[in-house]
């Protein structure tokens, strides 16, 4: 027996029509937020950062690859990791298909992590991703964006009860909890104008959900995300299910 309300087409339609109004309102609010993001002041990036790439050492300006906009997904893959973070991997699964469409909007999208480039490229090969990945481990890039935490900063968290999901994710990345949470996930956006790089936007945590296309789909399934009260996270790397 189903314990969910079952209804006629007419009853469903009435409920669906009411929901549609609020969905439309949310879509418009999303447009409004996008407008507000574009209105943020731009900040000149005056510090010089270096990145190891498949085509040698590059500056932040060079990462634009002749386009006017740059999006960097900060993938949690620190030097001690033996595999990329599982959640970041699920995000990266959805990234490569964006690349040609974003390039058509004059936008370069790439992944950056602190692990040595060779570790990143070996893992990328395993996962089969067609997207550029650069190592940011040689400069303060992650630290300056608030995406690298010191032991001192992490102490209160590490001294407290560690959530099982964090233990699970650390283990899946081949590192301990301290090594795992030293890295933070994020997305940062830049504009290049007259040779000057400007940082325009940075987001993390649930701000990354728009990049997690499976959540948009799960939010439209009958049972939703089904995550509440689960001690273990359901996500796996796509070759581990």
């Amino acid at each position: 027996m189903t314990d969910h309300t079952v209804a006629t087409q007419e009853e469903w339609q009435k409920a669906r029509d009411a929901l549609l109004q609020d969905e439309k309102e949310l879509t418009r609010r999303n447009d409004e937020l996008a407008r507000k993001r574009r209105e943020l002041p731009w900040v000149k990036v005056e510090k010089s950062y270096t990145f190891e790439t498949e085509r040698g050492t590059k500056s932040l300006a060079e990462l634009f690859d002749s386009r006017s906009q740059l999006l960097v997904y900060h993938f949690m893959f620190g030097p001690p990791y033996t595999a990329g973070c599982t959640v970041c991997s699920s995000i990266a699964d959805t990234l490569a298909p964006h690349v040609p469409h974003l390039q058509a909007r004059d936008t370069t999208l790439l992944l950056a992590s602190r692990a040595p480039l060779e570790n990143l490229l070996a893992y990328r090969q395993r996962m089969g991703w067609a997207i550029d990945w650069v190592s940011s481990g040689g400069s303060d890039f992650n630290r300056d964006l608030g995406l690298l935490h010191t032991e001192e900063e992490l102490k209160p968290f590490l001294d407290g009860p560690i959530p099982p999901v964090v233990e699970q994710m650390a283990q899946a990345s081949g590192t301990d909890v301290a090594g795992y949470v030293a890295e933070g996930p994020g997305l940062s956006a830049y504009a290049l104008l007259d040779g000057t790089v400007y940082r325009t936007y940075v987001t993390t945590a649930r701000g990354l959900e728009p990049a997690m296309a499976y959540y948009g789909l799960l939010d439209r399934t009958p049972l939703g995300r089904q995550e509440e009260g689960e001690a273990e996270h359901w996500l796996r790397r796509h070759d581990e299910y």
Partner: protein, 243 residues
Amino acid sequence: MLDHAVGTQEEWLAASKDLLAAEKEHSRRGDELARRRRELPWVPIDKEYAFETNEGTKTLADLFGGRSQLLVYHFMFGFGFRVDEQNPGCIGCSFVADHFDGVVPHLNGHGVTLVAESIAPLQQLQVYADRMEWTFPWVSSLGSDFRFDFGAAFTEEQQKNGAVYNFRHEAEVSPQREGMSAFILRDGVVHHTYSTYARGVEQLMGTFGYLDVSPLGRNEEPEHTGAWWHRHDEYETLEATAQ
């Protein structure tokens, strides 16, 4: 010349914090809408639908593939939407479908099957999927009322007299439109739970999410007179042609 406001790190941070509060509120509203979607009543389906698939003819219940939840993307292909003989697949739907392969393992791992459906011979769908290098399941609903019943295709009479699309009567409808429908299988009965259309399918795509955090956003106004997107294997050739 830069015509955008440039600020100090402190000014940017203050503005970003205000924006973050609004973004968080937006996330929570999204959660609330997801909860309300789950509360929609379920409607049992007693009509039989047949689909041609790579593994033979299947019913709607068969499409679940052993999982309890099913998402069907209504992909515009052929049937009044042929762009030309070489390009039967809708460009917008191709853009949407570019996002599917990356999410399929995660959805399947979480009890959800995702398939695309089109009113076209299966063989044509396979040819186009090969060209686009897609591997998600794509089935033919040719000869079935399925797509019409779920509001994403319209009969000649409806095209002439108008019909309901996206839950609103439209005086003029094209032969088919985009959409996605969700189903659950309980005790052997398929129930329809949700359908979304038009801008509702934007939420199924990641690319707009990225553009929405880029400095220039979707960059569609004011000169936006048509779709900027192309099939993922056509950007280079089309740009070269334009130059």
